[in-house]
């Protein structure tokens, strides 16, 4: 008893119990318990300790907040990033799997393919084959980043720098995202889509909805506009729509709403799927966006089915910039977190332990296996992007004579922040590589190009990382990231509307590469379901 606090000795048994319970809870949840050894004398004087943002491996919200503010200062002042407001959410591993399987979006309509993805990821995760991502970030305003609960404090700092500033800046500034996506509206749109699809399922049955969504998902890659915005609806169309909305409001008007107190809005009308046919004979050909074409011109679809196609098409379009900027986006985020973490350390805001942990995870993220390595799975976008961006900084600060030849405008200017911000804003993977991949990097990655002709049983090495090959390797690599070439180019050539309504599609082959036969049959089947009549898909040589 002697050791106890006198206050506790005086307290009744019950109170004492309460006190211990409280102490127990505090001790269980306090991150300090693991850090006992760290606190004791490791950092020496009090003054040193106070400067560090965190000393423990476990995170808490106060530490997150402190660290976020420090990162923000560096990001805005040193890197001059321009970001959407951030919203950082801490989630559990199950929620991370959830987010994975719904295309990384916080809200998503229901579809079996997401369930399949979840089942697969879940099994992989449980069996230990794959670790979870440390973060997911959503191109929206506010920019939502998910932090995994199990991350250590160092990882949370890294992830905040990576997602909440790196990706965020890229989303806000890259021309593709600015042009094609609407960061303010995406969450509302997803909420609408989810409700609408649920309403459709209730009204028309799950199977009906599922078959349309299946078909639409199969055409997602062919459901984007690559070069133009969708045509604006004609004036009559807009007027007609407005008239119909007014008519609906008139019909749904209720005297009772007037009696609501000031400032209370009457409940919004639920999304009601319309069930009328809409068939537009006025088609503009050729059309590369198959989903758009089917939505507008399919003779068999009903209005709600067209709306489903539109939802899938809008999602495809929303994700299209991400597909074109994998290297840049990840490179940008990786470069930003690398720079910020180093600056944090330089300024004495994080200790050596966290820096070692950060470097360990950073190096495994930017690891590039060689082509004959068992781990090789294509070029790692993190590795290439990070290397190129660090290289831009190097060229701006310490150029070699070779760099001066290759990048006269950039070499030695010292303004790497400006150069990078310009690159992030105005390039996509293809043009970025074509513009900025330096001979030094090609040597470092030991890049070489192979020529592959299907009939021959050997590849031919067409260029390697030498003086004669640099330009060729670089443009071939850039070409590899051109979605215009990597995706099959399929267009609607015509439809026999007067006759048997056969739809004619053409695949414009690039260098004689045809479509994969089995999947071609399957996807054509989906198109037939949406079109309602025969579909002919022809391979056309260049």
């Amino acid at each position: 008893m002697a050791g106890l606090d006198p206050a506790i000795q005086r307290a009744s048994v019950r109170e004492r119990y309460e006190f211990f319970r409280y102490a127990l809870i505090r001790c269980r949840y306090s991150p300090r318990r693991q850090a006992g050894c760290l606190q004791g004398g490791h950092d020496g004087g009090e003054k040193n300790v106070s400067k560090l943002l965190f000393t423990e491996a476990e995170w808490d919200f106060a530490a997150l907040d402190r660290t976020y503010k420090a990162i923000e200062e560096i990001a805005l002042a040193d890197l001059k990033l321009d970001v959407y407001p951030n919203q950082v959410e801490v989630i559990s591993s199950e929620q991370m799997l959830d987010a994975y399987s719904s295309l990384g979006m916080p809200l998503m309509y229901n579809h079996w393919s997401f369930g399949k993805l979840f089942a697969r990821e879940d099994t992989m995760y449980r069996a230990g084959y794959s670790a979870l991502a440390y973060e997911i970030v959503i191109n929206s305003s506010p920019c939502i980043s998910y932090l995994l609960e199990e991350n250590t404090m160092t990882m949370q700092a890294l992830v905040m720098a990576h997602a909440a500033f790196g990706h965020n800046h890229f989303f806000k500034n890259n021309y593709l995202f600015r042009q094609w996506t609407n960061a303010e509206g995406i969450l509302d749109y997803l909420a609408f889509a989810k409700h609408y699809i649920t309403a459709c399922e209730e009204r028309y049955g799950r199977d009906e909805v599922e078959s349309v969504l299946d078909a639409a998902h199969a055409l997602m890659d062919q459901g984007v506009f690559r070069y133009r915005r969708p045509p604006k609806p004609s004036r009559e169309r807009v007027l007609e729509k407005r008239r119909r909305r007014a008519a609906y409001e008139e019909e749904a008007y209720n005297e009772l709403w007037r009696t609501l107190p000031q400032g209370v809005a009457p409940p919004a009308a639920p999304p009601t799927p319309e069930d009328e046919d809409e068939f537009d004979g006025d088609m503009k050909l050729p059309e590369e966006n198959l989903l758009y074409f089917l939505e507008k011109h399919s003779p068999v679809l009903r209005a709600w089915q067209r709306e489903l196609l539109r939802i899938v098409r809008n999602l495809a379009q929303y994700f299209y910039p991400q597909r074109q900027t994998k290297v840049m986006n990840e490179g940008c985020a990786t470069f930003v977190h690398h720079t910020i973490m180093n600056l944090l350390f330089d300024r004495g805001l994080i200790g050596e332990g966290p820096v070692m942990e950060f470097l360990h995870s950073h190096t495994s993220v930017v690891f590039q296996p060689e082509f004959n390595d068992r781990r090789f799975g294509g070029i790692n976008p993190y590795a290439l992007g990070f290397a190129m961006m660090s290289d831009i900084r190097r060229i701006a600060e310490n150029p070699t004579p070779e760099d001066r030849d290759w990048f006269p405008g950039l070499a030695g200017t010292g303004d790497w922040v400006g150069a990078l911000k310009d690159a992030w804003a105005n390039y996509r993977d293809e043009s970025f590589i074509e513009q900025f991949l330096s001979p030094k990097l090609m040597r470092e990655f030991r890049l070489f190009a192979l020529y592959d002709k299907a009939e021959e049983d050997t590849y031919r090495v067409s260029a390697i990382h030498n003086e004669q090959g640099f330009r060729r390797v670089r443009s071939l690599l850039a070409r590899q990231y051109d979605t215009g070439i990597a995706d099959p180019n399929i267009q609607v050539a015509g439809a026999d509307l007067k006759g048997d309504r056969t739809l004619f599609l053409e695949h414009h082959m690039h260098r004689g590469v045809p479509l994969h036969h089995a999947t071609k049959q399957l996807v054509t089947g989906h198109i037939e379901r949406l079109w309602g009549h025969d579909v002919m898909l022809e391979e056309v040589a260049e």
């Binding site: 199950e94 099994t123 506010p142 590039q368 296996p369 192979l450 390697i464 690599l477 695949h507 994969h516």
Partner: protein
């Protein structure tokens, strides 16, 4: 402006709807896979989560993709050059494996079968999907389940007719004690004292006492006023909830030979059969009684544990088990209220002459009572080959065959190895053709 939001406590299972859709979508493949997986595993493991491997057929998500292996030409860039010089020829890896194959898999979907974990409920749902106890005659009951009111504790709200007086008064009493409400007796005592004093000769002292007493009395009366005898907070009501009455009750008699002639292997097989049966009944029907009867040369009713796990030695007289079953049935399970099912497992040996007695009992007494009677004969694999034909067999088997000919709801099956159990089980309890 930054928000940190803790989402960890948000409701879980957001993707449940997607999972259900997926399971529904892949129903056919999953069913096949589940059945295969069940067949290969021990019956005891049936109630466990299991890994299911599903082929991508039916759940494939086809997309258009290019096939550079078919024809045409392309260039691609790889990292990690070691010795290659321009113009070198490199043999293509066979079967699309290696560098180029991986590339192709990246751009398209090199999707094979994939594995995922199904939980116990999902597995069992699929397994039991098209099984049902045969010919379940709803002897006493109607289609719609009846409901009855059952007590469900005490509530603070309810209709006055359901007031629970004892509880209410007890609460009131407790509250009165706690609030120190003066009892009527105390007030009367004060009054009596006061009266007594008032009758005495008035003096300074008594006057003061009277005033004090009056005050005390007034306080007590006032206190009684504002601390009610019964307060609304004291009132308690009996609560009732509706509960479904089982609309059909069935009793399942499990008979098993545990004599010496039943070896470890036979017992094990029988055990598996019953365990599965047991699981099935427990799951499928709300109200199913299971009676375990084991027999050697005489029969006993035992509990589940003993039935499966204890040993006994002795001869074999099957009819004793039938006697015991009849006895229990008469005692507890009248045919007007219960559907009676019986499942018997044996190695086919019985005392000579006993088989005939069994047949007589079955024909005369048991079969008229039973909805269904299943007889499982456990053979070893060698015997299984010898008795390939349905007609040949040991004494009991041949005797039971005659019963089977007479009664449509009598079934006989032979099993020799664990893998035989499931097919038998399915066949026995196949949904009655409507």
């Amino acid at each position: 402006m930054t928000y940190f939001i803790d989402r960890r406590l948000n409701p879980k299972g957001k993707s449940l709807a997607n999972r259900q859709r997926f399971l529904r979508r892949a129903r056919a493949q999953i069913r096949e896979a589940v059945q295969k997986s069940l067949k290969e595993s021990a019956v005891a493991d049936i109630a466990k989560d299991r890994k299911i491997k599903v082929s991508s057929k039916g759940t494939g998500e086809p997309r258009f993709r290019l096939d550079p292996h078919a024809s045409g030409e392309r260039d691609f860039v790889l990292p990690g050059n070691k010795e290659f010089m321009p113009g070198d020829a490199i043999k293509k890896p066979q079967g699309g494996e290696g560098a180029s194959g991986k590339q192709a898999a990246d751009s398209g979907e090199g999707e094979d079968d994939f594995e995922f974990v199904m939980n116990q409920d999902e597995v069992l749902d699929i397994f039991f999907e098209d099984l049902e106890l045969p010919n379940l005659v709803r002897t006493t009951l109607k289609e719609t389940p009846n409901k009855t009111w059952k007590r469900a504790g005490i509530t603070t709200a309810g209709s006055p007719s359901q007031i629970n007086l004892v509880r209410t008064m007890r609460n009131a009493h407790g509250r009165r004690l706690a609030m120190r409400r003066p009892s009527l007796r105390e007030v009367e005592k004060l009054q009596a004292e006061l009266d007594l004093l008032e009758q005495e000769l008035p003096s300074e002292e008594t006057r003061a006492q009277i005033t004090a007493l009056k005050e005390k009395l007034a306080r007590a009366i006032a206190r009684r006023k504002w601390i009610g005898f019964i307060d609304p907070v004291d009132v308690r009501y009996n609560s009732f909830t509706e509960q479904p009455v089982p609309t059909s009750q069935a009793v399942m008699f499990c008979l098993m030979d545990v004599s010496g002639s039943m070896g470890e292997r036979e017992k094990d097989l029988a055990k598996r059969f019953y365990m599965l049966l047991h699981l099935f009944l427990r799951r499928r029907y709300d109200k199913v009684d299971i009676v375990f009867v084991r027999h050697t040369h005489d029969a006993q009713e035992v509990d589940e544990q003993e039935f499966f796990y204890s040993r006994q030695s002795g001869g074999t007289i099957v009819s004793t088990a039938l006697d015991k079953m009849l006895e229990i049935q008469k005692e507890r399970y009248t045919t007007s209220d219960w559907n009676i099912y019986a499942a018997q497992a044996s190695d086919g040996y019985t005392q000579s002459g006993d088989a005939r007695r069994c047949v007589e009992m079955l024909n005369a007494e048991i079969m008229p009572l039973c909805q269904y009677y299943a007889y499982i004969e456990i053979l070893d694999e060698r015997e299984m080959e010898v008795f390939a034909s349905e007609d040949s067999g040991a004494e009991l088997w041949r005797a039971y065959r005659t019963v089977a000919e007479l009664w449509g709801n009598f079934a006989t099956k032979r099993i020799a190895k664990p893998a035989d159990i499931f097919p038998v089980f399915r066949e026995l309890f196949k949904k009655a053709e409507a």
